[in-house]
Symmetry: C2
Subunit: 245 residues, 2 copies
Amino acid sequence: LKRIKIVVAYDGTNYCGWQIQPNEITVEKVLNDKLSKLLGEDIKIIGASRTDSGVHALGNVAVFDTNSTIPGDRFSYALNTLLPDDITIQASCEVQKDFHPRHCDTRKIYEYKILNRQFPVPTKRLDTYFFSHCLDINKMKETAKYLVGEHDFKSFCSVKTQTETTVRTIYSLEVTRSDDVVSIKVIGNGFLYNMVRIIAGTLIQVGTGYYEPINIKEMLGSIDRTVAGPTAPPEGLTLVEIQFL
Amino acid sequence: LKRIKIVVAYDGTNYCGWQIQPNEITVEKVLNDKLSKLLGEDIKIIGASRTDSGVHALGNVAVFDTNSTIPGDRFSYALNTLLPDDITIQASCEVQKDFHPRHCDTRKIYEYKILNRQFPVPTKRLDTYFFSHCLDINKMKETAKYLVGEHDFKSFCSVKTQTETTVRTIYSLEVTRSDDVVSIKVIGNGFLYNMVRIIAGTLIQVGTGYYEPINIKEMLGSIDRTVAGPTAPPEGLTLVEIQFL
């Protein structure tokens, strides 16, 4: 028995997120089904990050155990021939048998993309959130500085969050504009439920002038979800990369 | 009766191109149907450019005549409420009654995008052509220089082309790479049937080393479709803009 790690990219538009749920099509379910078909074994993958319904990934990570003789780096090619267009394996390799993608120290990189122009663009609709109101990028950049570092992010996670501590560290949070796409790129040691989307929703409200950058300091201090901005829609969010330290 | 000009963006993935055909869903058909519904008149638009099946647009142009009292610049908003996600109006205005989008001198801008990496990326699949072989961008840039200017492009158009002359002028042809996307951007006074896709297909074959840049000079000189490279797939091509001179 050997353990294989796969790096998975997907367009989350048509999936109820990563995690298996009864009567729903999820990325985990498709991967289990296709791997089981490919290998003739009952495969149950273990994912690193349970992305929400409608959220995308360039580099989510999962592992599974198999008796297959396929070399580790060939699983990507074999599995891609069976997968639908909206899921692709980016890499595969054999890892140590005790490697567990949720029991490791990691750095995660997320990007939230806003298509900021008068009218939507059909070819960009998969992975951007369309928002037509003017955004003050400089104010958004200023706000980002308050969020970097180790903080209690209780104001910036869903009230449904179940976790021992809501303290997390954001290593960097960059807001940039390239033509009509505003990108919010955040690197941290882990993120709470809906945390990136609430940060994006709050930064958007700073961009429109609804909040001032300094308000974010108070929001962090309040430790209260009701004081921060709304949860931005899932279609703008992509899990870019998970780095195992 | 007034004449309205609309600028249309679409994801061509699910359309049999622009032009109305029996028993097929085309962009022109959807626009005629939705405009007729919106205005209560039998609307037949006149398009500037009949893009092929699977080809996209950011700025195709069409006109139609109507008795409606809706101000010219409001048609975009009104029509967008009726259109599916893969077609949006980017602008609308009233124009002179004799303005015909195919009887004007124009500059057209097309972009062909190649996703050049080991494995496909689902969120980029709508408007890029996935090609995993290494591409020598410098050779592609060198090749592009031979195509700029006024030439007989008979070697670079479909044998099905019906036109008085196959002489066209390319004002600029730029090949650039940004991360894993290679972009071929071409500006000309008009393009023959499949011309941009044959240029892209030929540049790709130069990029892989199958042709040398100097071969393109001979191809142009041969005035023979069989000597140029293949027609690149439609999904990489976008009609970016039509400028009326």
